[in-house]
Symmetry: C2
DNA sequence: CGTGCCATTTACTCAAGAGTAAATAGTATA
DNA sequence: TATACTATTTACTCTTGAGTAAATGGCACG
């Protein structure tokens, strides 16, 4: 009984349930993010095609059309996940670009961050879900973003070679080798496994860069 | 006119159109292979989910039920493709296991063969198509085969470390790094590109193994 | 020769799941 | 208070593509 009880204090000490425009926008953004997070979890776990939007909605306790409300179709959802993943990788590159140190130091720092990203949700999704999954209309956008990161890595390798802190014969192939080795963690590393991502990243970078020390 | 002309020579010098049991079986096998080859091409090009069995059938100029006749459902087709791909990798491992040389020599040989396989149709498909795509019933089989290859690589690395031809701190991680770098070619290398697979394999192996030379 | 198997096709069924229309209710703001 | 907007749901539609039943016709072999 007494289902709709009156509030204890009329002065309302807690946050008001009435939101202003800013708060509503923040609300919306956080709900959007929640959808993306739920989606990326399922995508990584079961694969994109084995995950229906109904599944994503159900995992949040809401209904499918709500996802359309926040994000539009399934392709959009995937692309947003990938965009976030790529953005994180890109931020790693930008951050390192601003830091001091020998080329090799900076390369190592980047590779470590790269590996760590790949073992987190969104960048993981970038690797696990091939670009052929994206609709042909947005695929070029994805490729462009991806390419930026590839080139950032090449640049760091080239700089390390230039300042003598590394010895490299083929920059492009080296970049592919490094990116491949690190990206592959998205396939074999299980989140919550015995080995911590940071350790894996550390050791992996060691293994890879030992080959290009002068 | 003269549509159904009589054969030029009654003695039939060419192969007879009438097949015996063995020939029919060979026929059947070669048709089965043709289906798998057509399928793996499309899977690699467009992705498994974007390829319908109708597409595969059409690319061969036959009808879908014929594929069911030779191979059973779509899952079977994919698994067969992957089985072939894994078998090729496994043969590479077995071959190297029988050869002489230092551990490092043999490891290098294996890595080169591994990379070359990955840039061919079937092994390429193994990498491009994640195991989550397989139905839960056959996935364990796939994993088991995959695991054999992983362990073969680890064994070679361990042997190279044991005979002093390589210096390795963590065998497992090293194997993952190598497998990742080489597997990644399935993602970026386009068949018929400027660089030959053999060259790529050669250089890639060089880049990777330089890091574990003593 | 006729009987039955094998290859192959046509013409279907059926389910899943993406996407949508329209209703409902709560909240903000004039 | 009236009005308009936002969040959210229910209850659909429609397409795609996997898988199947059944018919056809040739070839082999008794």
């Amino acid at each position: 009984m007494n289902k709709s009880a009156a509030p204890a204090s009329p002065a309302a000490p807690g946050p008001s349930p009435f939101r202003n425009a800013q708060q509503r926008e923040a609300d919306r953004a956080s709900k959007r993010d929640a959808v993306l997070l739920a989606a990326v979890h399922l995508f990584n776990q079961r694969g994109f095609h084995a995950t229906s939007l109904d599944d994503v909605a159900a995992s949040l306790g809401v209904s499918k059309p709500l996802i359309y409300h926040y994000l539009g179709g399934k392709d959009q959802v995937l692309f947003e996940c990938m965009r976030i993943g790529l953005q994180q990788l890109r931020e790693a590159a930008d951050e390192v670009a601003r830091q001091p140190g020998t080329g090799m130091d900076r390369l190592k720092r980047f590779l470590r961050r790269y590996a760590e990203c790949i073992m987190e949700d969104f960048s993981r999704c970038v690797i696990r879900t091939g670009d052929e999954t994206l609709s042909p209309e947005i695929r070029p956008q994805f490729r462009a973003l991806k390419s930026e990161i590839d080139h950032a890595m090449r640049k760091l390798i080239a700089e390390a070679a230039a300042d003598g802190s590394a010895k490299v014969t083929d920059v492009k192939l080296t970049a592919f080798a490094f990116a491949g080795a690190l990206s592959w963690t998205a396939r074999w590393h299980e989140p919550g496994g015995a080995l911590q991502p940071a350790e894996i990243a550390e050791q992996m970078v060691e293994i890879l860069t030992r080959g290009i020390s002068p």
